[in-house]
Amino acid sequence: MHYYEEDDLERFGDIGKHRPDLFEKFMAWYEAVQQDGALSRREKALIGLAVAHALQCPYCIDAYAKACLEAGSNMEQMTEAIHMASAIRGGATLIHGVQAHNAVNKVSM
């Protein structure tokens, strides 16, 4: 037993057992977001995969890795998307170094 169970991904709908009105609104929006638009489904699935890694959500990683395959992406493209998420996370950490510098400068002579 561990906190994340693979089968629980398919139980997402259980969330709608309480306040189904809110869940239905969420799902309608969620599904609309996935459709082809100015960005293709394939591009959106790659964004989903990158965000899933940034959030480190195992359900989302599972779902969007498969969504990327089913949208026709390959491992090179998926890996580049994951690197994008990692790079921005890394950059976001590093840029906060300026905050640290500011804090140090403020109390330093």
């Binding site: 082809d36 293709s40 489904r41 394939r42 498969k66 395959l69 089913e70 949208a71 026709g72 090179e76």
Partner: protein, 331 residues
């Protein structure tokens, strides 16, 4: 992996006909067949991991000259519009060229399901000119525009040979504008997942095949892997069977039903037996009682209106955008 598979509950698959009924659709009935899909045998120079025929170099099932003549009698007598020749690698059957030549002489449109690498088999180097001279529509398997995925499904070295074979077909005029020589590619997922949207992946393939290899083609057909034969073995071995079936069943799309290929196609086995489709042929699911059983007794009028026999693999043709030998069946 093994213990996990053993511990999975047995999947209860809802009967396909019941699913049709639950969506307000009647039982599947065939129209008068306009396409004869002829499976000339299981011999192949490849042994692809997703093959629903279990075809390979050691298979010996092969259509005889006598059966081939019975097929041609049917093509001539009933003015069959389309003859779709498959296998195995159909070109390895000794009667293959006779079937093509005589079907064309009878006025049929002929399409061949071509694995590309058979062009490298001893004595088969002339195939591309043969196809061109008989105006055959070539339907060639290429699951992806990269070597890694293609070789993972079809065998080491298949991708490089396939690219060379496609270039040679282009040189013959296949896939080139204005020639009328049709070169269509087939995408099968390299694993336990559904194909992408056909138009979208066709766009990607056209761009990538042109940019990377300077290859042109006409259409790309997306075909779902059927949970039978060698692909079923893979699903079970890899622990993916239950999830794949659940995906197919959950993806049932009523809009695909009117375009199912079994409605206007008859599948002929290497031994002359008739089936509703090539998949039913492979699992020996015979035609409904009362319908002609072999190509000797072929009669489109007697086959029209017959009830199509279904099983759980039929969910493969109705999931998502649908699947047929001509690709997706619903937008």
């Amino acid at each position: 992996m093994r213990s996990r598979e053993v511990n999975l509950p047995v999947l209860a698959i809802k009967d396909f006909d019941e699913t049709l009924a639950a969506h307000g659709l009647g039982e599947l009935r065939a129209a008068r067949p306009t396409t004869l899909q002829i499976n000339v045998g299981k011999l192949c120079n490849q042994a692809c991991k997703h093959c629903h025929v279990d075809a390979g170099p050691n298979r010996t099932e092969s259509m005889s000259r006598e059966t081939a003549e019975q097929v041609l009698d049917a093509v001539r007598r009933f003015h069959i519009a389309t003859v779709d020749i498959t296998g195995g690698a159909p070109e390895l059957n000794p009667n293959f060229e006779h079937l093509v030549t005589e079907s064309r002489r009878a006025g049929a449109h002929v399409m061949v399901r071509h694995n590309l690498t058979v062009q490298f088999v001893e004595g088969k180097q002339h195939l591309r000119e043969f196809f061109r001279d008989h105006r055959v529509e070539v339907i060639a398997s290429l699951p992806y525009f990269l070597a890694q995925q293609t070789d993972a499904q079809r065998g080491a070295g298949v991708f490089d040979k396939s690219i060379t074979a496609l270039r040679r077909l282009n040189e013959c005029g296949y896939g080139m504008e204005g020639t009328g020589l049709l070169l269509n590619l087939v995408y099968n997922p390299v694993g336990a997942f559904l194909p992408p949207n056909q138009e979208s992946i066709e766009r990607d393939f056209k761009h990538e095949m042109r940019a990377r290899y300077d290859i042109a083609f006409n259409r790309l057909y997306t075909i779902t892997n059927m949970p039978i034969s060698r692909f079923l073995d893979y699903l079970r071995r890899s622990g993916n069977y239950e999830r794949y079936m659940q995906k197919l069943i959950a993806g049932f799309n009523p809009a695909t039903v009117s375009g199912l290929m079994c409605r206007d196609l008859i599948s002929v086995g290497w031994d002359g037996r008739l089936f509703d489709c090539d998949f039913n042929q492979m699992i020996e699911l015979r035609l409904a009682d009362g319908a002609p059983r072999t190509i000797k007794d072929f009669d489109p009028a007697a086959l029209a209106g017959r009830r199509i026999n279904t099983a759980s693999h039929c969910y493969g043709c109705t999931a998502g955008a649908g699947s047929s030998c001509g690709g997706a069946t619903a937008g």
